[in-house]
Subunit: 245 residues, 2 copies
Protein backbone atom coordinates (compact mmCIF):
# COMPACT_ATOMS: atom_id res chain seq x y z
CA UNK A 1 0.00 0.00 0.00
CA UNK A 2 1.66 3.20 -1.14
CA UNK A 3 0.94 6.28 0.93
CA UNK A 4 0.49 9.52 -0.99
CA UNK A 5 0.68 12.99 0.51
CA UNK A 6 -2.46 15.00 0.95
CA UNK A 7 -2.25 18.27 -0.92
CA UNK A 8 -3.12 20.15 2.18
CA UNK A 9 -2.21 23.81 2.15
CA UNK A 10 -2.72 25.87 5.22
CA UNK A 11 -1.74 29.35 6.31
CA UNK A 12 1.36 29.68 8.36
CA UNK A 13 2.97 32.46 10.31
CA UNK A 14 6.70 32.93 10.66
CA UNK A 15 6.15 35.43 13.43
CA UNK A 16 5.10 32.83 15.93
CA UNK A 17 6.98 29.84 14.51
CA UNK A 18 9.23 28.09 17.03
CA UNK A 19 11.95 27.99 14.38
CA UNK A 20 12.14 31.71 13.76
CA UNK A 21 15.57 31.92 15.38
CA UNK A 22 17.00 29.27 13.04
CA UNK A 23 15.14 29.74 9.79
CA UNK A 24 14.48 32.55 7.34
CA UNK A 25 13.25 35.16 9.85
CA UNK A 26 16.61 35.46 11.65
CA UNK A 27 17.40 39.09 12.29
CA UNK A 28 14.15 40.52 10.96
CA UNK A 29 12.32 43.19 12.92
CA UNK A 30 8.72 42.47 14.02
CA UNK A 31 7.54 44.69 11.17
CA UNK A 32 9.57 42.84 8.55
CA UNK A 33 8.39 39.57 10.02
CA UNK A 34 4.82 40.54 9.37
CA UNK A 35 5.65 41.02 5.68
CA UNK A 36 7.51 37.72 5.61
CA UNK A 37 4.34 35.99 6.71
CA UNK A 38 2.87 37.01 3.39
CA UNK A 39 5.53 35.42 1.25
CA UNK A 40 5.29 32.06 2.99
CA UNK A 41 2.32 30.94 1.03
CA UNK A 42 1.64 27.44 2.20
CA UNK A 43 2.76 24.57 4.35
CA UNK A 44 3.13 21.31 2.46
CA UNK A 45 3.38 17.81 3.95
CA UNK A 46 5.88 15.29 2.56
CA UNK A 47 5.57 11.71 3.70
CA UNK A 48 8.54 9.54 4.57
CA UNK A 49 10.24 8.31 1.42
CA UNK A 50 8.58 10.88 -0.83
CA UNK A 51 10.48 13.33 -2.98
CA UNK A 52 9.95 17.04 -2.40
CA UNK A 53 11.67 17.70 -5.73
CA UNK A 54 13.83 15.79 -8.20
CA UNK A 55 16.63 16.53 -10.65
CA UNK A 56 15.07 18.25 -13.63
CA UNK A 57 12.02 19.62 -11.81
CA UNK A 58 11.14 23.21 -12.54
CA UNK A 59 12.34 25.57 -9.83
CA UNK A 60 9.88 28.03 -8.37
CA UNK A 61 10.29 27.99 -4.64
CA UNK A 62 12.70 27.40 -1.85
CA UNK A 63 11.52 25.24 1.01
CA UNK A 64 12.01 25.75 4.73
CA UNK A 65 11.80 22.53 6.72
CA UNK A 66 9.22 23.00 9.45
CA UNK A 67 9.18 19.45 10.75
CA UNK A 68 11.04 16.36 9.61
CA UNK A 69 14.35 15.35 8.16
CA UNK A 70 15.54 15.27 4.53
CA UNK A 71 18.42 14.02 2.45
CA UNK A 72 19.53 15.60 -0.81
CA UNK A 73 21.25 13.58 -3.50
CA UNK A 74 22.36 13.62 -7.09
CA UNK A 75 22.52 10.63 -9.42
CA UNK A 76 25.10 9.92 -12.11
CA UNK A 77 23.69 10.42 -15.61
CA UNK A 78 24.88 7.02 -16.82
CA UNK A 79 24.40 4.31 -14.22
CA UNK A 80 22.23 5.05 -11.22
CA UNK A 81 25.03 5.81 -8.75
CA UNK A 82 23.58 7.99 -6.02
CA UNK A 83 25.62 10.55 -4.13
CA UNK A 84 24.01 11.93 -0.98
CA UNK A 85 25.06 15.58 -0.79
CA UNK A 86 23.57 16.48 2.57
CA UNK A 87 21.12 15.86 5.38
CA UNK A 88 18.78 18.70 6.32
CA UNK A 89 16.87 19.29 9.50
CA UNK A 90 14.23 21.70 10.79
CA UNK A 91 14.82 25.37 10.11
CA UNK A 92 17.10 24.67 7.15
CA UNK A 93 16.38 25.93 3.64
CA UNK A 94 16.54 23.58 0.66
CA UNK A 95 16.31 24.16 -3.07
CA UNK A 96 19.09 26.73 -3.53
CA UNK A 97 20.58 24.58 -6.30
CA UNK A 98 17.59 25.35 -8.51
CA UNK A 99 18.14 29.09 -8.80
CA UNK A 100 20.91 29.11 -11.39
CA UNK A 101 19.04 27.37 -14.21
CA UNK A 102 15.46 27.46 -12.94
CA UNK A 103 15.75 23.69 -12.65
CA UNK A 104 16.45 21.56 -9.62
CA UNK A 105 19.72 19.69 -9.95
CA UNK A 106 19.30 17.39 -6.97
CA UNK A 107 16.69 15.27 -5.24
CA UNK A 108 15.24 16.09 -1.84
CA UNK A 109 13.76 13.06 -0.11
CA UNK A 110 11.98 13.01 3.26
CA UNK A 111 13.56 10.52 5.68
CA UNK A 112 10.58 10.88 8.01
CA UNK A 113 7.15 12.43 7.66
CA UNK A 114 7.77 16.12 7.14
CA UNK A 115 6.21 19.51 6.66
CA UNK A 116 7.82 22.26 4.61
CA UNK A 117 7.03 25.94 4.20
CA UNK A 118 6.88 26.90 0.53
CA UNK A 119 8.76 30.12 -0.21
CA UNK A 120 8.08 31.32 -3.77
CA UNK A 121 11.42 32.65 -4.92
CA UNK A 122 9.95 35.60 -6.83
CA UNK A 123 8.44 36.82 -3.57
CA UNK A 124 11.69 36.37 -1.70
CA UNK A 125 13.52 38.44 -4.28
CA UNK A 126 10.82 41.11 -4.21
CA UNK A 127 10.90 41.36 -0.44
CA UNK A 128 14.71 41.22 -0.37
CA UNK A 129 14.82 44.40 -2.41
CA UNK A 130 12.63 46.04 0.20
CA UNK A 131 14.29 44.71 3.36
CA UNK A 132 18.09 44.83 3.57
CA UNK A 133 17.96 42.47 6.56
CA UNK A 134 16.22 39.79 4.52
CA UNK A 135 18.54 40.37 1.56
CA UNK A 136 21.57 40.00 3.81
CA UNK A 137 20.11 36.90 5.40
CA UNK A 138 19.46 35.24 2.03
CA UNK A 139 23.04 35.94 1.01
CA UNK A 140 24.27 34.43 4.25
CA UNK A 141 22.16 31.31 3.78
CA UNK A 142 23.63 30.75 0.32
CA UNK A 143 27.16 31.49 1.50
CA UNK A 144 26.71 29.09 4.42
CA UNK A 145 25.76 26.35 1.99
CA UNK A 146 28.90 27.07 -0.04
CA UNK A 147 31.02 26.85 3.11
CA UNK A 148 29.28 23.64 4.21
CA UNK A 149 29.99 22.06 0.85
CA UNK A 150 33.61 23.16 1.09
CA UNK A 151 33.81 21.20 4.32
CA UNK A 152 32.29 18.13 2.69
CA UNK A 153 34.85 18.42 -0.11
CA UNK A 154 37.61 18.57 2.50
CA UNK A 155 36.17 15.52 4.23
CA UNK A 156 35.94 13.51 1.01
CA UNK A 157 39.27 14.69 -0.33
CA UNK A 158 41.55 14.22 2.66
CA UNK A 159 39.99 12.24 5.50
CA UNK A 160 40.12 8.57 6.51
CA UNK A 161 36.93 6.60 7.14
CA UNK A 162 37.16 7.03 10.93
CA UNK A 163 37.67 10.77 10.65
CA UNK A 164 34.74 11.07 8.25
CA UNK A 165 32.40 9.23 10.55
CA UNK A 166 33.55 11.19 13.61
CA UNK A 167 33.01 14.46 11.72
CA UNK A 168 29.59 13.27 10.62
CA UNK A 169 28.49 12.36 14.14
CA UNK A 170 29.81 15.56 15.70
CA UNK A 171 28.07 17.68 13.09
CA UNK A 172 24.79 15.81 13.42
CA UNK A 173 24.76 15.98 17.21
CA UNK A 174 25.71 19.63 17.23
CA UNK A 175 22.89 20.59 14.88
CA UNK A 176 20.46 18.39 16.75
CA UNK A 177 21.51 19.94 20.06
CA UNK A 178 20.98 23.45 18.65
CA UNK A 179 17.38 22.41 18.09
CA UNK A 180 16.92 21.50 21.72
CA UNK A 181 17.58 17.78 21.55
CA UNK A 182 19.96 15.77 23.69
CA UNK A 183 23.66 16.43 23.37
CA UNK A 184 24.41 12.73 23.71
CA UNK A 185 21.54 10.71 22.27
CA UNK A 186 20.08 10.50 18.79
CA UNK A 187 18.03 8.19 16.64
CA UNK A 188 19.47 8.27 13.15
CA UNK A 189 16.98 8.94 10.40
CA UNK A 190 19.15 7.66 7.59
CA UNK A 191 20.37 4.16 6.67
CA UNK A 192 23.99 2.99 6.72
CA UNK A 193 23.80 3.15 2.94
CA UNK A 194 22.87 6.86 3.06
CA UNK A 195 25.65 7.64 5.54
CA UNK A 196 28.15 5.74 3.40
CA UNK A 197 27.10 7.55 0.26
CA UNK A 198 27.39 10.91 1.98
CA UNK A 199 30.83 10.06 3.36
CA UNK A 200 32.15 8.38 0.23
CA UNK A 201 32.56 4.94 1.85
CA UNK A 202 30.59 1.70 1.70
CA UNK A 203 27.84 0.80 4.13
CA UNK A 204 30.01 -2.06 5.40
CA UNK A 205 32.77 0.38 6.33
CA UNK A 206 30.23 2.57 8.11
CA UNK A 207 29.00 -0.41 10.09
CA UNK A 208 32.49 -1.65 10.93
CA UNK A 209 33.63 1.80 12.01
CA UNK A 210 30.58 2.25 14.23
CA UNK A 211 31.36 -1.11 15.80
CA UNK A 212 34.97 -0.07 16.34
CA UNK A 213 33.93 3.17 18.06
CA UNK A 214 31.61 1.06 20.17
CA UNK A 215 34.36 -1.42 21.14
CA UNK A 216 36.53 1.52 22.15
CA UNK A 217 33.79 2.83 24.42
CA UNK A 218 33.45 6.07 22.47
CA UNK A 219 29.82 5.54 21.50
CA UNK A 220 27.02 3.14 22.25
CA UNK A 221 25.11 2.09 19.18
CA UNK A 222 22.16 -0.20 18.63
CA UNK A 223 20.93 -0.10 15.06
CA UNK A 224 19.81 3.52 14.61
CA UNK A 225 20.07 4.57 18.22
CA UNK A 226 23.38 6.31 19.01
CA UNK A 227 24.69 7.59 22.31
CA UNK A 228 27.95 9.48 22.52
CA UNK A 229 29.93 8.49 25.57
CA UNK A 230 33.25 10.25 24.92
CA UNK A 231 32.73 13.35 22.77
CA UNK A 232 36.38 14.38 23.30
CA UNK A 233 37.52 11.10 21.80
CA UNK A 234 35.43 11.79 18.69
CA UNK A 235 36.89 15.28 18.43
CA UNK A 236 40.35 13.78 18.78
CA UNK A 237 39.68 11.38 15.89
CA UNK A 238 38.31 14.21 13.77
CA UNK A 239 41.22 16.54 14.63
CA UNK A 240 44.06 14.13 15.30
CA UNK A 241 46.90 14.90 17.70
CA UNK A 242 47.50 18.55 17.00
CA UNK A 243 49.76 18.51 20.08
CA UNK A 244 52.25 16.26 18.29
CA UNK A 245 53.18 18.66 15.52
Amino acid sequence: MSKTSLIQDYKTACSNCHLRELCLPVGLSPDDLQKLNNIVKTRQPVLKGEKLFTEGDEFNSLFAIHTGFFKTSITATDDGREQVTGFQMTGEIIGLDGIVNDLHTCNAIALEDADVCVLPFENIELLSREFPALQRHMHKIMSREIVRENEVIMLLGTMQAEERLAAFLLNLFQRSHMRGFSKSEIVLRMSRQDIGSYLGITLETVSRTFSKFCDEGIIEIKQRYVRIIKPEALKEIFNPNKSCQ
Copy 2:
Protein backbone atom coordinates in the same frame (compact mmCIF):
# COMPACT_ATOMS: atom_id res chain seq x y z
CA MET B 1 64.03 37.83 -4.03
CA SER B 2 60.35 37.93 -3.14
CA LYS B 3 58.14 39.92 -5.44
CA THR B 4 55.41 41.98 -3.80
CA SER B 5 52.39 43.38 -5.58
CA LEU B 6 52.17 47.04 -6.29
CA ILE B 7 49.15 48.58 -4.66
CA GLN B 8 48.07 50.04 -7.90
CA ASP B 9 44.45 51.05 -8.10
CA TYR B 10 43.04 52.25 -11.33
CA LYS B 11 39.57 52.98 -12.59
CA THR B 12 37.87 50.25 -14.52
CA ALA B 13 34.74 50.06 -16.60
CA CYS B 14 32.55 47.00 -16.82
CA SER B 15 30.73 48.50 -19.78
CA ASN B 16 33.62 48.00 -22.14
CA CYS B 17 35.26 45.01 -20.46
CA HIS B 18 35.80 42.04 -22.75
CA LEU B 19 34.48 39.79 -20.00
CA ARG B 20 31.10 41.46 -19.63
CA GLU B 21 29.32 38.44 -21.13
CA LEU B 22 30.86 36.07 -18.57
CA CYS B 23 31.20 38.12 -15.43
CA LEU B 24 28.98 40.22 -13.19
CA PRO B 25 27.40 42.39 -15.92
CA VAL B 26 25.57 39.48 -17.59
CA GLY B 27 22.02 40.52 -18.42
CA LEU B 28 22.30 44.12 -17.32
CA SER B 29 20.93 46.90 -19.52
CA PRO B 30 23.34 49.62 -20.71
CA ASP B 31 21.86 51.91 -18.06
CA ASP B 32 22.41 49.41 -15.25
CA LEU B 33 25.91 48.78 -16.55
CA GLN B 34 26.77 52.40 -16.10
CA LYS B 35 25.80 52.14 -12.43
CA LEU B 36 27.78 48.93 -12.05
CA ASN B 37 30.90 50.81 -13.15
CA ASN B 38 30.57 52.81 -9.96
CA ILE B 39 30.59 49.84 -7.63
CA VAL B 40 33.70 48.33 -9.16
CA LYS B 41 36.05 50.52 -7.25
CA THR B 42 39.49 49.34 -8.22
CA ARG B 43 41.53 46.85 -10.12
CA GLN B 44 44.13 45.05 -8.03
CA PRO B 45 47.13 43.05 -9.28
CA VAL B 46 48.05 39.75 -7.63
CA LEU B 47 51.38 38.22 -8.53
CA LYS B 48 51.87 34.50 -9.15
CA GLY B 49 52.01 32.64 -5.85
CA GLU B 50 50.48 35.48 -3.85
CA LYS B 51 47.35 35.13 -1.79
CA LEU B 52 44.39 37.35 -2.64
CA PHE B 53 42.85 36.37 0.69
CA THR B 54 43.38 33.73 3.37
CA GLU B 55 41.28 31.79 5.87
CA GLY B 56 40.40 34.18 8.67
CA ASP B 57 40.76 37.38 6.65
CA GLU B 58 38.02 39.93 7.11
CA PHE B 59 35.48 39.85 4.30
CA ASN B 60 34.58 43.09 2.58
CA SER B 61 34.57 42.48 -1.11
CA LEU B 62 34.02 39.90 -3.76
CA PHE B 63 36.59 39.72 -6.53
CA ALA B 64 36.05 39.29 -10.25
CA ILE B 65 39.02 37.79 -12.03
CA HIS B 66 39.97 40.10 -14.89
CA THR B 67 43.14 38.33 -15.94
CA GLY B 68 44.90 35.29 -14.53
CA PHE B 69 44.13 32.00 -12.90
CA PHE B 70 43.48 31.16 -9.23
CA LYS B 71 43.08 28.18 -6.97
CA THR B 72 41.04 28.17 -3.77
CA SER B 73 41.87 25.86 -0.91
CA ILE B 74 41.16 25.14 2.72
CA THR B 75 43.60 23.73 5.24
CA ALA B 76 42.86 21.30 8.05
CA THR B 77 42.97 22.98 11.45
CA ASP B 78 45.34 20.40 12.93
CA ASP B 79 48.04 19.36 10.50
CA GLY B 80 48.56 21.43 7.38
CA ARG B 81 46.65 19.17 4.96
CA GLU B 82 45.53 21.30 2.05
CA GLN B 83 42.38 20.63 0.09
CA VAL B 84 42.07 22.49 -3.19
CA THR B 85 38.38 23.33 -3.58
CA GLY B 86 38.45 24.85 -7.05
CA PHE B 87 40.29 26.50 -9.90
CA GLN B 88 38.98 29.85 -11.11
CA MET B 89 39.52 31.60 -14.40
CA THR B 90 38.74 34.99 -15.94
CA GLY B 91 35.22 36.29 -15.48
CA GLU B 92 34.61 34.16 -12.39
CA ILE B 93 33.72 35.62 -9.00
CA ILE B 94 35.59 34.55 -5.87
CA GLY B 95 35.06 35.27 -2.20
CA LEU B 96 31.44 34.10 -1.80
CA ASP B 97 32.50 31.93 1.14
CA GLY B 98 33.18 35.07 3.19
CA ILE B 99 29.63 36.39 3.27
CA VAL B 100 28.18 34.15 5.94
CA ASN B 101 30.50 35.12 8.80
CA ASP B 102 32.20 38.23 7.39
CA LEU B 103 35.38 36.14 7.37
CA HIS B 104 36.99 34.31 4.51
CA THR B 105 37.03 30.56 5.08
CA CYS B 106 39.36 29.63 2.25
CA ASN B 107 42.55 30.79 0.56
CA ALA B 108 42.65 32.23 -2.94
CA ILE B 109 46.09 31.96 -4.53
CA ALA B 110 47.11 33.26 -7.95
CA LEU B 111 48.62 30.53 -10.15
CA GLU B 112 49.84 33.16 -12.60
CA ASP B 113 50.14 36.93 -12.47
CA ALA B 114 46.60 38.21 -12.18
CA ASP B 115 44.37 41.25 -11.99
CA VAL B 116 41.11 41.28 -10.05
CA CYS B 117 38.26 43.78 -9.91
CA VAL B 118 37.36 44.61 -6.34
CA LEU B 119 33.61 44.54 -5.73
CA PRO B 120 32.75 45.96 -2.28
CA PHE B 121 29.93 43.75 -1.09
CA GLU B 122 28.00 46.58 0.57
CA ASN B 123 27.79 48.27 -2.80
CA ILE B 124 26.67 45.09 -4.53
CA GLU B 125 23.89 44.67 -2.01
CA LEU B 126 22.86 48.30 -2.36
CA LEU B 127 22.74 48.12 -6.12
CA SER B 128 21.02 44.70 -6.06
CA ARG B 129 18.12 46.27 -4.23
CA GLU B 130 17.83 48.80 -7.01
CA PHE B 131 18.32 46.50 -10.02
CA PRO B 132 16.39 43.24 -10.07
CA ALA B 133 18.63 42.01 -12.90
CA LEU B 134 21.73 42.37 -10.77
CA GLN B 135 19.99 40.82 -7.78
CA ARG B 136 18.92 37.85 -9.86
CA HIS B 137 22.40 37.51 -11.32
CA MET B 138 24.05 37.51 -7.88
CA HIS B 139 21.66 34.78 -6.77
CA LYS B 140 22.50 32.77 -9.86
CA ILE B 141 26.23 33.14 -9.27
CA MET B 142 25.88 31.81 -5.73
CA SER B 143 23.57 29.01 -6.82
CA ARG B 144 25.99 28.06 -9.60
CA GLU B 145 28.76 27.73 -7.03
CA ILE B 146 26.52 25.45 -4.93
CA VAL B 147 25.81 23.29 -7.98
CA ARG B 148 29.50 23.20 -8.94
CA GLU B 149 30.40 22.03 -5.45
CA ASN B 150 27.69 19.37 -5.63
CA GLU B 151 29.42 18.05 -8.72
CA VAL B 152 32.79 18.01 -6.94
CA ILE B 153 31.19 16.08 -4.08
CA MET B 154 29.82 13.58 -6.59
CA LEU B 155 33.25 13.26 -8.16
CA LEU B 156 35.00 12.71 -4.82
CA GLY B 157 32.30 10.44 -3.44
CA THR B 158 31.73 8.04 -6.30
CA MET B 159 34.32 8.24 -9.07
CA GLN B 160 37.52 6.31 -9.82
CA ALA B 161 40.81 8.10 -10.46
CA GLU B 162 40.46 7.87 -14.25
CA GLU B 163 36.94 9.23 -14.20
CA ARG B 164 37.99 12.10 -11.94
CA LEU B 165 40.82 13.11 -14.21
CA ALA B 166 38.66 12.85 -17.33
CA ALA B 167 36.00 15.01 -15.68
CA PHE B 168 38.67 17.50 -14.65
CA LEU B 169 40.12 17.80 -18.14
CA LEU B 170 36.74 18.09 -19.85
CA ASN B 171 35.65 20.80 -17.44
CA LEU B 172 38.88 22.75 -17.77
CA PHE B 173 38.89 22.62 -21.58
CA GLN B 174 35.23 23.53 -21.80
CA ARG B 175 35.67 26.61 -19.63
CA SER B 176 38.83 27.57 -21.44
CA HIS B 177 37.11 27.19 -24.79
CA MET B 178 34.24 29.43 -23.64
CA ARG B 179 36.87 32.12 -23.16
CA GLY B 180 38.01 31.85 -26.74
CA PHE B 181 40.94 29.49 -26.30
CA SER B 182 41.64 26.30 -28.19
CA LYS B 183 39.26 23.40 -27.79
CA SER B 184 42.14 20.93 -27.86
CA GLU B 185 45.24 22.56 -26.39
CA ILE B 186 45.99 23.96 -22.96
CA VAL B 187 48.92 24.78 -20.75
CA LEU B 188 48.02 23.78 -17.22
CA ARG B 189 48.53 26.46 -14.62
CA MET B 190 48.48 24.13 -11.64
CA SER B 191 50.89 21.44 -10.45
CA ARG B 192 50.19 17.71 -10.31
CA GLN B 193 50.00 18.19 -6.56
CA ASP B 194 47.21 20.77 -6.94
CA ILE B 195 45.29 18.57 -9.36
CA GLY B 196 45.65 15.61 -7.01
CA SER B 197 44.46 17.60 -4.04
CA TYR B 198 41.45 18.87 -5.97
CA LEU B 199 40.57 15.35 -7.15
CA GLY B 200 41.27 13.59 -3.86
CA ILE B 201 44.13 11.47 -5.24
CA THR B 202 47.93 11.66 -4.95
CA LEU B 203 50.12 13.45 -7.43
CA GLU B 204 51.63 10.09 -8.43
CA THR B 205 48.20 8.79 -9.39
CA VAL B 206 47.58 11.95 -11.41
CA SER B 207 50.86 11.47 -13.23
CA ARG B 208 50.30 7.77 -13.86
CA THR B 209 46.77 8.36 -15.12
CA PHE B 210 47.94 11.10 -17.49
CA SER B 211 50.57 8.68 -18.80
CA LYS B 212 47.92 6.01 -19.26
CA PHE B 213 45.67 8.36 -21.25
CA CYS B 214 48.72 9.24 -23.30
CA ASP B 215 49.61 5.59 -24.01
CA GLU B 216 46.03 5.04 -25.11
CA GLY B 217 46.28 7.93 -27.57
CA ILE B 218 43.54 9.91 -25.83
CA ILE B 219 45.73 12.88 -24.97
CA GLU B 220 49.22 14.12 -25.68
CA ILE B 221 50.96 15.48 -22.61
CA LYS B 222 54.37 16.98 -22.01
CA GLN B 223 54.71 18.35 -18.49
CA ARG B 224 52.07 21.08 -18.35
CA TYR B 225 51.16 21.14 -22.01
CA VAL B 226 48.07 19.03 -22.78
CA ARG B 227 46.44 18.32 -26.11
CA ILE B 228 43.23 16.34 -26.33
CA ILE B 229 43.26 13.93 -29.23
CA LYS B 230 40.09 11.93 -28.57
CA PRO B 231 37.55 14.00 -26.64
CA GLU B 232 34.90 11.29 -27.10
CA ALA B 233 37.16 8.80 -25.34
CA LEU B 234 37.44 11.15 -22.37
CA LYS B 235 33.66 11.57 -22.29
CA GLU B 236 33.33 7.80 -22.43
CA ILE B 237 35.62 7.42 -19.40
CA PHE B 238 33.73 10.11 -17.52
CA ASN B 239 30.33 8.65 -18.41
CA PRO B 240 31.06 4.96 -18.81
CA ASN B 241 29.06 2.71 -21.16
CA LYS B 242 25.56 4.04 -20.73
CA SER B 243 24.65 1.89 -23.75
CA CYS B 244 25.24 -1.29 -21.73
CA GLN B 245 22.51 -0.71 -19.15
